[in-house]
């Protein structure tokens, strides 16, 4: 089956944000990461108009993004001579393809991220402070000038909403449970 524009666009929309964040883990620079991902997609289109969209394709794209991001990193680091030589050396060592588990992780996190963003503003803010920034309920209550009870209420509301948002994505159940466990 050949890759037409619609399939290419779907692939892009599905993976663009997770890929940018994946590249950003390497580069620590979101602008540069976006450049890398866009470039990879352009290469993908120009070189393989008939590429199949399978799980292998995902691995292929992630691997391309990782390698290109590492390449950018090498160019941008102007370290000591020793470092440069080490980097030169690592140029010649081929890294294995990005594993499916790693890719799935980014997809899961993307799903959670999207779900958190869909929470009502107050609810989402409290959830983020608690679960992502790691503040305690008392700290959140102090910070926002609300009662601890309100924080608790918003948190259980956030969990209920997140569960219902994520429950259709059966492979992602593990993460929901992870959240519950860490509650």
């Amino acid at each position: 089956m050949s890759m037409d524009k619609v399939r290419f666009k779907n692939l892009f929309n599905k993976h663009y944000r997770p890929l940018c964040n994946y590249a950003n883990r390497i580069l620590r620079d979101m602008d540069a990461s976006e450049d890398v991902v866009q470039d990879v997609f352009l290469k993908l289109w120009n070189n393989s108009p008939a590429i199949n969209i399978t799980s292998n394709t995902e691995s292929y794209i992630y691997t391309m993004v990782r390698n290109q991001a590492l390449g950018v990193l090498r160019k941008s680091v102007s370290g000591s001579r020793f470092m440069n030589e080490m980097q030169q050396l690592s140029n010649h060592i081929s890294l294995p393809d990005v594993e499916e588990a790693e890719i799935e992780k980014y997809q899961i996190i993307d799903n959670i991220y999207v779900s958190i963003r869909q929470l009502p503003p107050k609810c989402g803010e409290i959830f983020t402070l608690s679960k992502i920034k790691g503040l305690t309920y008392t700290q959140i209550a102090d910070r926002l000038g609300i009662s601890v009870k309100t924080v608790e209420g918003q948190m259980s509301k956030a969990f209920r909403l997140l569960r219902s948002m994520l429950k259709d994505l059966s492979p992602f159940w593990n993460v929901i449970v992870l959240f519950i466990e860490l509650l």
Binding site: K5, N21, M30, E34, L42, W45, N46, Y113, G153, W173
Partner: protein
């Protein structure tokens, strides 16, 4: 009462949670492993903590625009484009010959200079891109004379044929998209889309997409599916992937609008495979980098490159 109800709901929810957790642990060991790897490394949380929003829509528009010439084949959005072509005229002292050859008779007719107006939207809707050393003179409605090189995406209008006069022959668009390059030494026409007719010396040559025609004193030479990209000079970046040294040099000659000569006693070889890219580089640095790759010997003067030897 309200609080009680809330507590009841909450405690029920947490029972449900416990059941879900229990079932999940029992029947999905694969999930458990996934959870463990996430949990142990805490990596997942770090990613989530650092997760940033990016503008997918904007990025898609960019990627789409970069590939738009290919999309047209699929989407048919630009069906009103009759042809896209590139014309190149090489600059060997006579670049401005046509500008001086006759005075502009009517004020309504335009003369475009690439240095000031590289991108032209003609009144019929055609898009024309001129290289900086090029001139395009309007002789009449949809009739031009070109000195230099230009890329045309010609709007469809059967009643008014779109023609480009060059030093060697006249290019006439029959119905799609093309590239034309013309020079005092030769006229090169490359058709990307559509059908183009080149008339020279009372002979007609019909070109189809992918065809590349060179017309010079020696006559007309048609090259089907050339490896070089004759419209590459429009780009700020040149990329070579597994290309022979010969096709790389031909592309560079077109890109920098310079004549390419191979020394007579040179042995051509297909062994050199070039993989590299140049971004807004000048010709000197491009040749220097190629020299590192191929150890080729060359001489660069104002209007030509002579290649003496190379080895890989």
């Amino acid at each position: 009462m309200k609080n009680k109800l809330l507590n009841f709901i909450l405690s029920e929810e947490s029972n449900e949670e416990r059941t879900v957790l229990h079932n999940w642990k029992n029947d999905a060991s694969a999930n458990l492993e996934g959870l463990k790897s996430l949990h142990d490394e805490k990596d997942g949380f770090e990613i989530l903590r650092d997760y940033k929003e990016v503008n997918t829509k904007e990025a898609w528009h960019f990627v789409e625009s970069q590939t738009s010439s290919q999309w047209t084949v699929f989407s048919g959005k630009l069906l009103n484009v009759a042809a896209i072509l590139v014309v190149v005229v090489m600059a060997l002292g006579g670049l401005y010959y046509m500008m001086n050859s006759q005075s502009v008779s009517s004020d309504n007719l335009m003369v475009y200079k690439g240095i000031t107006s590289p991108e032209i939207t003609y009144k019929d809707g055609s898009n024309i891109e001129l290289d900086k050393n090029s001139n395009l003179k309007e002789l009449n409605y949809r009739k031009f004379k070109l000195d230099g090189r230009a890329y045309f995406a010609v709007a469809r209008d059967i009643e008014h044929p779109f023609t480009v006069e060059t030093h060697f022959g006249t290019v006439e668009v029959l119905g799609t998209a093309f590239n034309v390059l013309t020079s005092v030494n030769s006229t090169n026409v490359f058709v990307k889309e559509g059908k183009v007719k080149v008339i020279y010396d009372n002979k007609e040559h019909v070109l189809l997409p992918g065809d590349y025609l060179t017309v010079s004193k020696e006559g007309a030479f048609l090259n089907k599916n050339p490896l070089i990209q004759p419209d590459i000079w429009k780009e700020s970046k040149i990329t070579f992937k597994n290309q022979s040294f010969h096709s790389v040099m031909e592309t560079i000659a077109i890109y920098y609008n310079i004549k390419l000569e191979w020394s007579e006693n040179m042995q051509p070889s297909d062994n050199c495979r070039i993989n590299t890219e140049f971004y807004k580089s000048d010709i000197e640095s491009v040749l220097k980098e190629l020299q590192i790759l191929t150890q080729f010997q060359y001489k660069l003067s104002a209007n030509k490159i002579v290649v003496y030897s190379y080895k890989c």
